[in-house]
């Protein structure tokens, strides 16, 4: 997959949809293209967050540690981004991400990501929107959980 294809992929990620293609190309160029085989770990819960990943091809599982071992909480499909929260909050990873099949991804380093947010307010707004959306969902889930009690 060449740089220009990656740009096409990035454009389909909601977070980056508002950014001009030339900037996306720069983002793609300065990111590392990484590949994983099935079962390989992208990062582990508790690790320090140093990069975000955009899945280019393949699938990955999001696992959370529990008393009875890791539980799969979600699945990542191409064009999704993962790991950006730990970058933003300077916190450790809240989940483990494991490749479910051979996986290609774009690894965006933390400092590059933050720099992009600073330079492209569209991206920051989009980011806030996604986060707010997630918060909404979480709140709704919480209310459901409380009322179910």
């Amino acid at each position: 997959m060449l740089l220009k294809d990656e740009v096409g992929m990035l454009q389909r990620v909601p977070l980056f949809s508002g950014i001009e293609p030339t900037k996306l190309k720069l983002l793609a160029f300065t990111s590392d293209r990484v590949s994983y085989s099935a079962g390989q770990i992208l990062f582990r819960q508790g690790d320090e967050g140093d990069a975000a990943y955009v899945i280019l091809s393949g699938r990955a599982d999001i696992l959370v540690d529990s008393d009875s071992g890791p539980i799969k909480v979600a699945e990542l499909v191409p064009n999704s981004i993962v790991g950006e929260i730990a970058i933003l909050c300077n916190s450790s990873r809240t989940a483990t991400v494991r490749a479910a099949c051979p996986l290609e991804a774009l690894r965006i380093r933390k400092d590059h990501f933050l720099r992009l947010m600073k330079e492209f307010p569209e991206m920051t707004i989009e980011m806030v929107r996604v986060l707010a959306d997630r918060l909404n969902h979480t709140t709704a889930d919480l209310i459901d959980a409380r009322s179910a009690k």
Partner: protein, 904 residues
């Protein structure tokens, strides 16, 4: 040191000074003979005096003297020579005299020069010797750069002066006196006039020069301060940038330079003023001769012949006088410099020479306890760091010194290490004051490490073994020219009062590290490095550096085996995809195009980096392989892409780290170049521009940059070009490149590159770490671990050890202290740069390592965290310079003292 330079010179060179004076007097004989000879030649054979009769002969070389009482005595009647023969004989004698005079001059100058250089060597050595004996407090006040200029620059002029120190005044004074005497003999009163003027010169000129001396001293002090400041700027460059004070420093330096300029200019003005006056006085005398002498002649009281003789004789007076006065100026100048330096080096409380005397045999172990007796130490400001402390550290016990912020435990540790001298009380070892013990005992039986580490700019190995280099232990056999050189070195060292210790001898005291020689020292080194958890860092350094193949032969010998082992292991673990090996007939996608073309490591500047594209042979290979146009177009494409991506980023943007093709500064140049070349055909582009563009393509790696520029056809063309390149490599480039050969070690490449013999895939983020740990495993399996550690030990730590991290420096310092297996190991917050977990780990290791093989040194450790005290037999707590608690960890915990408070 002697406060007077003349005495210093006389004490050390009196024999030589007398000898050279004698030689000079002796040299006068042929010198005067050569004056007389021209007259003999002209009057005798040329004008024919004494050869009036044809066939007349004259005796040549007749030796006869008129002796009192005995009358004329003839020793040799001489050869009878005719006119022509006499001419030739006398001319040959003249030539001989010229040669003899020249030889005398050569000998005298050489002798004087050597005398001066030897003295200079002696002075410099004396100064450095003193630096080695200064009491510790002195170093808190002096800047190292100032001491260095004193030793190097300020005593330099002394060398030139020393040869002339006594010779010149005697010689010139003699000449001046002779001329003076001649004048007096001709006419008493004219002689008196000359004498008066000379006396005025002698009295006034030196008086005027006093100011010159003052200015000279100022010049020296300001110049020294300048070099001190420059040294400070270099050492503190970080602070300068952090605080944006570079302009403050500029102002300070400019102000200092201004002051130095003023002083120097003042100095010149005075110097030329004095010169003017001196010349004037010298010219005044002939004026008086003409006037007064002429008057006397008119009056008939002096005849013309006498006046002319006096004026003629006076011509010989100003020359020597002037030189004499110049000599005096030199003397004063040098004297001032010397005094200035000596003043700085005259320090009270100099360590006695016997303390640091060379001791070959190892001293007996220190079996007595180390006791502080009523010990008080104040800091420079007079505040008490320790107030009348008494305690005893018994051999073999481990003691933790716990201290509050103002406790003073560090001062105690420094006092044990003799780095801080007691203000009252003392530290004693078995009744002997520690300060009276020779360093041969304290430096070998005790060791010390602190958080404030100093490393020399040398290899890690040299720094680690530094603590073992007490005395030259072997005598090196020299033969042939080296033996002559060695003898000469010893002879000259002795003549200059330098020691003749051989720096090339083996100074390493293997026994104190528990080894018997170089072959098993490594075991000890490895153990201490493991103890301070530094081995891994050094291995990493080893992997990243290129091995010195004269020393590390094993790596090169077994490289094939190593490479094969790595392949097998990678295959075995299913990781073959991680590394793409170099294969002579295949393109390596993970390497750059440049690396694929060259297929070797550049060993010289000719084929390295940017020079590659401009190399005529390389360019011709590209042409032959039909790659020149392709790579040019590729370079253009890369330039376009790079500029499109990066052109509007500020040059300091961190994205530039990702741009391998060009630096941020080069972007504008490439932008204009691109504009210029865009619609031009490949042929129309100049060599230089073409090289600039083509070189961009050399950095291209397809999987990393993903521009889609590499096709199968291009790859096979590149491999063909590679073969072409190596087949016809011209002889002048043979040494500029080491071709990749699966069976050969590449000296110019790092150890890692050699073992890998390929490139790590770009799209495996954790590949480098995984491969590194596999490589360590393999090296260990093949028994090459030690060899790699040794390569790492070659790493140069840089000025003050700054190429290492603070933590690494501290670990190295502890390792160095451990290595000599002391009886008393003093550690003063030695690991403060490490996190607590690492400190605990190293502490545990060090305690264990120090006691290996039944050895049981006393360990005194000033801990950074009271919790560390748990590991020790005994805990001593300090607060406000007082010893407040002393006992085992349990008893102190049981009590409700400061220790418990500190712990919580």
């Amino acid at each position: 040191m002697e406060p007077s330079l003349a005495r210093y010179i006389w004490t050390h060179t009196k024999k030589q000074q007398v000898w050279i004076l004698m030689i000079v007097v002796l040299s006068m004989i042929p010198y005067f003979m050569s004056f007389d000879l021209p007259k003999l030649i002209v009057n005798g054979p040329i004008q024919g005096k004494g050869f009036e009769q044809p066939g007349a002969t004259q005796p040549f070389m007749r030796l006869h003297y008129n002796l009192p009482l005995i009358g004329e005595v003839q020793f040799f009647s001489g050869f009878q020579l005719d006119r022509k023969e006499t001419l030739f004989a006398l001319s040959v004698v003249f030539l001989l005299l010229v040669i003899i005079n020249g030889l005398f001059k050569l000998y005298i100058n050489t002798y004087k020069g050597r005398l001066g250089e030897r003295m200079l060597r002696r002075i410099r050595f004396d100064l450095v010797d003193r630096v080695l004996r200064f009491p510790p407090i002195y170093f808190k006040r002096v800047k190292s750069a100032e001491v260095a200029t004193m030793v190097k620059d300020e005593v330099e002029p002394l060398g030139g002066f020393i040869g002339d120190a006594f010779l010149q005044p005697v010689l010139l004074g003699g000449q001046a006196l002779t001329a003076m005497l001649f004048i007096v003999v001709q006419n008493f009163w004219l002689g008196m006039i000359a004498a008066v003027i000379v006396i005025i010169q002698i009295v006034i000129i030196p008086r005027m020069r006093r100011r010159l001396i003052v200015l000279g001293r100022q010049r020296q002090l300001t110049a020294r301060a300048l070099s001190g400041r420059v040294g400070e700027i270099v050492d503190g460059i970080g602070a300068v940038h952090v605080h944006d004070t570079s302009n403050y420093e500029r102002a300070d330096i400019a102000a200092r330079l201004g002051l130095i300029f003023r002083i120097r200019f003042d100095l010149y003005q005075w110097k030329f003023m004095v010169k003017f006056l001196n010349n004037f006085l010298a010219q005044l005398t002939p004026f008086l001769f003409y006037m007064i002498g002429g008057y006397l002649v008119i009056q008939g009281r002096l005849d013309v012949g006498q006046l002319v003789a006096v004026i003629g004789a006076y011509k010989d007076l100003p020359g020597p006088m002037k030189e004499l006065i110049d000599w005096d100026q030199d003397r004063q100048d040098v004297q001032v410099k010397y005094q200035q330096v000596v003043e700085q080096f005259t320090v009270e409380g100099l360590i006695a020479p016997r303390i640091g005397a060379l001791t070959i045999d190892d001293p007996d172990p220190m079996t007595n306890p180390l006791s502080a007796i009523s010990l008080s130490i104040a800091d420079d400001g007079g505040a008490m760091l320790l107030n009348r402390i008494s305690l005893q550290v018994r051999p073999g016990e481990t003691v933790a010194l716990v201290s509050t912020a103002t406790g003073g435990a560090e001062a105690l540790a420094e006092a044990f290490a003799r780095l801080n001298w007691p203000d009252s009380g003392r530290i004693a070892s078995g009744g002997i004051d520690l300060l009276e013990l020779p360093e041969a005992v304290t430096g070998r039986r005790m060791s010390y490490a602190s958080s404030d580490v100093f490393l020399f700019q040398a290899s890690l190995r040299d720094n680690l073994l530094y603590g073992l280099k007490h005395a030259p232990l072997t005598s090196v056999p020299y033969d042939g020219a080296a033996a002559d050189q060695h003898r000469w070195n010893i002879h000259e060292a002795r003549r200059s009062g330098n020691p003749d210790l051989d720096i090339h001898s083996d100074w390493i005291n293997y026994a104190s590290a528990g080894a018997t020689g170089p072959h098993d020292l490594f075991e000890a080194v490895r153990r201490v490095l493991d103890a301070v958890v530094l081995s891994r860092d050094i291995l990493d350094l080893g992997l990243r550096s290129s091995a010195d193949l004269t020393r590390h032969t094993e790596l090169a010998r077994r490289i094939v085996e190593l490479r094969a082992a790595l392949r097998t292991r990678l295959e075995h673990e299913g990781l073959s995809g991680l590394v793409v090996p170099f294969e002579p007939g295949a393109y390596n996608k993970e390497a750059t195009i440049g690396q694929n073309l060259l297929f070797g490591a550049a060993a010289g500047p000719e084929l390295a980096d940017r020079a590659l594209a401009a190399n005529p042979y390389f360019a011709s290979v590209l042409r032959q392989a039909g790659l020149d146009r392709t790579l040019y177009e590729m370079g253009m494409e890369i330039a376009e892409q790079a500029i499109e991506l990066f052109a509007d980023l500020p040059p300091d943007h961190q994205f530039f780290q990702q741009l391998a093709f060009m630096s941020a500064e080069e972007i504008p140049a490439y932008e204009t170049l691109l504009q210029r070349l865009k619609n031009r055909s490949h042929e129309a582009v100049s060599e230089n521009d073409r090289a600039m563009i083509v070189s961009l393509s050399f950095a291209y790696i397809e999987p990393r940059h993903r521009f889609g520029l590499l096709s199968d056809e291009l790859m096979s063309k590149i491999v063909a070009a590679r073969n072409l390149f190596h087949e016809n490599l011209p002889p002048e480039l043979q040494n500029a490149i080491e071709r990749y050969d699966p069976a050969k070690y590449i000296a110019a490449a790092t150890v890692m590159d050699n073992v890998l013999f390929g490139r790590v895939g770009n799209n495996h983020p954790d590949a480098p770490d995984r491969i590194r740990s596999i490589v360590y495993d393999i090296l260990d399996e093949l028994g090459l671990y030690a060899e790699l550690l040794d390569v790492g030990l070659d790493f140069n730590v840089g000025s003050g050890g700054r190429r290492l991290t603070g933590g690494q420096r501290q670990k190295l310092d502890v390792a160095r202290a451990l290595l000599k297996r002391p009886d008393f190991l003093i550690l003063n917050r030695p690991l403060s740069a490490l996190d607590q977990r690492m400190q605990d780990k190293v502490l545990r290791n060090v305690l264990e390592e120090a006691r290996r093989d039944g050895h049981s040194p006393a360990i005194v450790w000033v801990v950074t965290n009271p919790a560390m005290a748990m590991m020790f037999d005994r805990v001593i707590v300090f607060d406000s310079g007082q010893l407040v608690e002393d006992g085992t960890h349990e008893t102190l915990l049981a009590g409700n003292g400061i220790f418990k408070e500190l712990l919580s």
